[in-house]
Subunit: 309 residues, 2 copies
């Protein structure tokens, strides 16, 4: 029952030899959602043993090179691997132009179906929805560049059946789905067994929000309220707050403020400027405001466990 | 007096976590010539501490993704680093289209001058020439895809002065350049001192040939004859010779045959299929025919030393 994020790249525009540009993959029940695709993403997918054939959805936040330059290589590799599954790509309308132009110029045969979905970037938009999960985009603040955050949210689960009680009342299998949905059970003699006797609350649905690149932008707080895990960029330290503002990036402190205001479970900071070899400064600065802060580092995994409280 | 090749990527189309796609850099007297630019090249340049600001010439063999997908990211990084130097890129005419389209679509400001040079690929062509070095391209055989090999050749050096003999005959500084070029020296009393007394043969000029991607193609032998170091692709083993032929690649044995026929100094094989985790098979197969064979591995350096024999 996984809900696990793997960091493929944690750096900002200039990659270092240890930190690749932005890319992450979220494993929700063994479906892998790729988020951003900086140069080298396919290499990191191999390094960290992510099953590439299970990636059917790619979400691209914005059209800066450090978030997209790995996409054409990944699409080509899918082709060489004989991929047949449809691939859905969610991003700015320019992204489709960029990819289609390259495929055509290079005469690359892509045998699978590529489906581009346009993110308008001006409001909350549902990009993906199935029985268990929804993915929405929402606008961030990155200058004139339209830039989207992404919110991954499990749907509410049906109630959990109490196996011993079902056995005790001899509940037939045909009734179980209804009981999961909250129905009571009526015995042959007419006695009503309340649903609360037969079931317990289901595990809480889990959620993840991805916010990069962005200046300090409190308008996102209601959207990401209470998520279990928040990734928020922290390109700079507080000492460079002016530079952060000018370049539409955030400081570690600002990331922590957003986490605090949104009452999230845990904060993960990343998109570090290449100048920082040591990231303790970022961790300390954010942790002072929001103690449950962690550093995004290439290859690290962050799980949200199922919770029955 | 370096003439040193660094392998940045040694794999064929599908990169592995240990072998990046094709890219190399040749250091000739502290000028760095980049050859091919697969995805992740900029990361490898950082990892192996190549001074990026000294790269002013990039040679691209052909328009397959595993040889070019790192170029747009590298050009963007040059921009972010504030590069001002002209950058010369040698490749197929489509390469300029590919790069210009991306820069325009992404509204990337490139403050330095980008100069594209078209490789026609049908004959030997001198791409670069200065006082010490020439770089030529020549056609390889890679199906319908025009594909160029590159030949880097130091020019002949002037003769080496014998310092002790110059002091003995009290040769003025103004005469020395002429003597380096082979002139005799005439003493005040009219006696002629033969050049051979005053100088010795210069070190041999050094050379490197880069041959990938290509089927077995003996027509290149006269072009690369006697080079000190030959890089030749060896995507497959002899057991897959049919597949090599079909995909216009070479086996390790074929690479060695070319090296033997061309009487090169040393052979370096690379562009390995991702299926091979262990490359001993390639090394053994080639070494049987051409003993001075080495494996290209990411990060390895191969020097051609100055030779006075």
């Amino acid at each position: 029952m996984k809900f696990e994020l793997t960091i493929l790249g944690s750096n900002s525009a200039l990659p270092t030899s240890k930190r690749f540009p932005t890319a992450q993959v979220l494993n929700v029940l063994e479906r892998f959602f790729l988020i951003d695709c900086g140069e080298g993403t396919q290499i990191q997918l191999k390094r960290f043993k992510i099953p590439m054939s299970r990636i059917n959805h790619i979400f691209i936040s914005h059209m800066h090179g450090d978030h997209i330059f790995g996409l054409i290589g990944l699409l080509s590799t899918f082709s060489l691997q004989g991929r047949k599954n449809e691939l859905h790509i969610y991003g700015h309308s320019k992204l489709e132009k960029l990819i289609r132009f390259q495929l055509e110029l290079l005469e690359s045969k892509v045998e699978y179906t590529l489906i581009f979905h346009n993110i308008f970037g001006k409001e909350i938009q549902t990009l993906f929805e199935d029985e268990t999960l929804t993915v929405q985009s929402f606008p961030l603040k990155h200058g004139v560049m339209p830039c989207a955050g992404f919110l991954f949210k499990e749907k509410d689960r049906p109630r959990t059946l109490k196996a011993d009680m079902l056995a005790f009342y001899n509940v037939p299998i045909k009734n179980r789905n209804g009981i999961k949905m909250g129905e009571d059970f009526v015995l042959e003699d007419g006695e009503v067994i309340a649903n609360a006797k037969l079931t317990m609350d289901p595990p809480k649905s889990r959620s993840y929000a991805f916010c990069t690149d962005t200046a300090y932008f409190p308008r996102i707080v209601p959207i990401i309220k209470g998520v279990d895990l928040l990734y928020h960029e922290a390109t700079f330290l507080k000492s460079e707050e002016k530079r952060a503002k000018k370049t539409y990036h955030s400081t570690a402190e600002q990331a922590a403020k957003i986490a605090l205001e949104a009452k999230v479970g845990q904060l993960l900071i990343g998109h570090f400027s290449a100048r920082f070899k040591d990231l303790k400064g970022h961790l300390n600065e954010a942790s002072e405001i929001f103690p449950k802060t962690m550093l995004a580092e290439d290859g690290k995994k962050f799980s949200v466990e199922l919770d029955r409280d």
